[in-house]
């Protein structure tokens, strides 16, 4: 199936000379949740802004649903909903009016039932007549999402959607995102909360200094790049790691009660069996052990620090 978003050779250099994007190639599959990760200034928002028509590209091509974003901008943009990073709202408008305005802007006929459903799904129904200026930050964020959903997009960009939102509300938003995915909406998510990407995404893209560092299926990525750590709680405290165990590059905790061993999950041999044998030979006994998979955050940090 053709990708719903196709980006090829996309570059952006601002008038100041700063290159924000450098030869980006990316394909977003229909119906997936794609998490775009990257440190501040990596180019995430610029990439989204170009796809949505807010920023002009310096070079390259972008197609949404097979429609070029310049030559067939109407067809391309009508598929897209955008929730920007900043809380840009008309303070003196009511929630209902601003959400209805967004639907009209996208050329859709009035549909009060749909607007009602969107507001109810986002727990905004009881605030429908409230002026936006009176809402909390979290509510304003949900209004932004409601505006983007009001015109029934097939592709939804969520640029830091849960920034400044409390944990309960964040989980509520995740539920909404899952429902959208179930309804066939493609979701592109940028976030600083790695656990959000870990929880939600089907695929992960990492962008750094204007270049795509990798695009990978989340599960495969964690399997491929993830490392595991075996931690051993010792029966007796030790002062130093015996020389016989040097090849394992063990780490001894400061209090001398815990040993840690890092190993590669993709390797055929993890070295655990021989380590346990050598520990026994060295007279080191343990009372407990645990293993821990490295998180997406660990992987992300290791990628962008390269």
């Amino acid at each position: 199936m053709a990708p719903v978003i196709s980006v090829s050779g996309l570059s952006k250099t601002y008038a100041s000379g700063f290159t924000s994007l450098n030869n980006i190639n990316l394909a977003i599959e229909r119906g997936e949740i794609f998490a775009l990760l990257g440190p501040n200034g990596a180019g995430k928002t610029t990439l989204i802004s170009i796809i949505c028509g807010i920023v002009n590209a310096s070079a390259g091509k972008v197609a949404v649903g097979g429609h070029d974003i310049n030559a067939a901008y109407r067809a391309a943009r009508s598929l897209i909903g955008l929730v920007p990073q900043e809380l840009h709202t008309d303070s003196f408008e009511s929630v209902w009016a601003t959400v209805s305005f967004s639907r009209g802007l996208f050329g859709k006929p009035k549909n009060p039932a749909l607007i009602e459903k969107v507001l109810k799904d986002l727990s905004l129904w009881d605030k429908k007549d409230a002026k936006i200026i009176t809402l909390s930050g979290g509510m304003k964020r949900r209004v932004m999402i409601a505006k983007a959903l009001s015109h029934e997009p097939q592709v939804l960009f969520l640029d830091e959607p849960t920034a400044g939102v409390d944990v309960e509300l964040r989980k509520g938003m995740w539920d909404v995102v899952r429902e959208l995915k179930a309804a066939g909406v493609t979701i592109i998510l940028t976030t600083h909360y790695i656990e959000e990407a870990e929880e939600m995404a089907d695929r992960v893209g990492v962008i750094n200094k204007g270049e795509i560092v990798l695009v990978e299926d989340k599960a495969k990525l964690m399997q491929k790049l993830g490392r595991k750590r075996l931690s051993l709680q010792l029966q007796h405290r030790i002062d130093a790691i015996p020389e016989a165990l040097t090849p394992y590059h063990l780490t001894l905790s400061g209090d001398g009660w815990r040993l840690a061993y890092d190993y590669d999950t993709k390797g055929e041999r993890t070295g655990i069996t021989s380590l346990l044998g050598d520990l026994r030979a060295a007279g080191i006994r343990f009372v407990d052990l645990e293993t821990k998979q490295s998180s997406l955050e660990d992987i992300f940090v290791s990628l962008v620090s390269q």
């Binding site: 601002y14 949505c52 028509g53 109407r74 009508s78 840009h88 009016a97 967004s102 009209g104 050329g107």
Partner: protein, 253 residues
């Protein structure tokens, strides 16, 4: 054409007018009424007729034009500048709407407000001075043409401005002086020859002259020239807006 989008922008802008009716409608009507009280009823009665009409009646077209010009610019410039200022312009730029549709929405609303205001001021003037309109169709045509042209001009200012000071600069320092010196309160034919020649460089002279002609059939310049000059300014504004959207000037980075 995405008429629903045009309608959404238009209604949004008009709703802002009703929310701020004191500032949008009442304030300019009161200000202009004061001109009629001072120059029409108080001082006007001591001034001799100008080109065959009483002074109070003579200044009506100029005062209507003064309000229409300034309000068209103010409405349209604020209408597009405010979304830029608060950031909601993202929604306009990312919507499936053409540049023409964006302009139709914003300029259409700004011009509508100015035309309504102009008509209210005209009705108010009728309370202070005797009023007659020789060519009502031409009067309405000049009113609409001027409102649209200067709303386009205001739209350009709103895009150009990157601060509230700049937003006020052109209307305060350029448009208002040109309007006052453009024959709102006098006929430029009353000026000495040198100043008369200089006055003819002021585009507002042609707008007021043509508008006044539609009322009393008296004009400082031929009405065809007034129409031609207004259309020329309209064409210049449309060209500038076409360039703005083509290049993304001050809209897209």
């Amino acid at each position: 054409m995405n008429l629903r989008a045009v309608g959404a922008i238009y209604k949004f802008e008009m709703a802002r007018t009703w929310r701020t009716i004191l500032q949008s409608i009442v304030s300019p009507v009161v200000s202009t009424s004061l001109y009629f009280v001072v120059f029409g009823a108080a001082i006007g009665s001591r001034i001799s007729e100008v080109q065959g009409v009483s002074y109070g009646t003579f200044i009506v077209p100029g005062l209507v034009m003064l309000s229409v010009l300034t309000q068209s610019i103010a409405n349209a410039s604020f209408g597009i500048y405010f979304p830029k200022f608060i950031g909601t312009i993202y929604e306009i730029l990312s919507a499936p709407i053409s540049h023409v549709e964006i302009v139709l929405g914003y300029v259409g609303a700004a011009a509508t407000k100015s035309i309504v205001l102009g008509l209210i001021i005209l009705a108010t003037a009728g309370l202070f001075v005797p009023l007659h309109i020789q060519h009502p169709v031409w009067m309405l045509s000049f009113l609409v043409l001027t409102a649209v042209t200067f709303s386009l001009f205001g739209f350009i200012i709103g895009i150009w401005a990157d601060g509230f000071e700049k937003l006020q600069m052109i209307p305060m320092l350029v448009v208002t002086p040109l309007t006052f010196l453009g024959g709102s309160f006098y006929s430029v034919n009353m000026l000495p020859p040198t100043w008369h020649s200089i006055a003819l460089l002021n585009p507002v002279v042609y707008l007021i002259s043509g508008f006044r002609w539609s009322f009393y059939e008296i004009a400082d310049v031929r009405v065809e020239i007034s129409v031609a000059m207004t259309l020329a300014f309209l064409a210049i504004c449309m060209t500038a807006i076409w360039w703005i959207f083509k290049t993304g000037y001050r809209l897209k980075r």
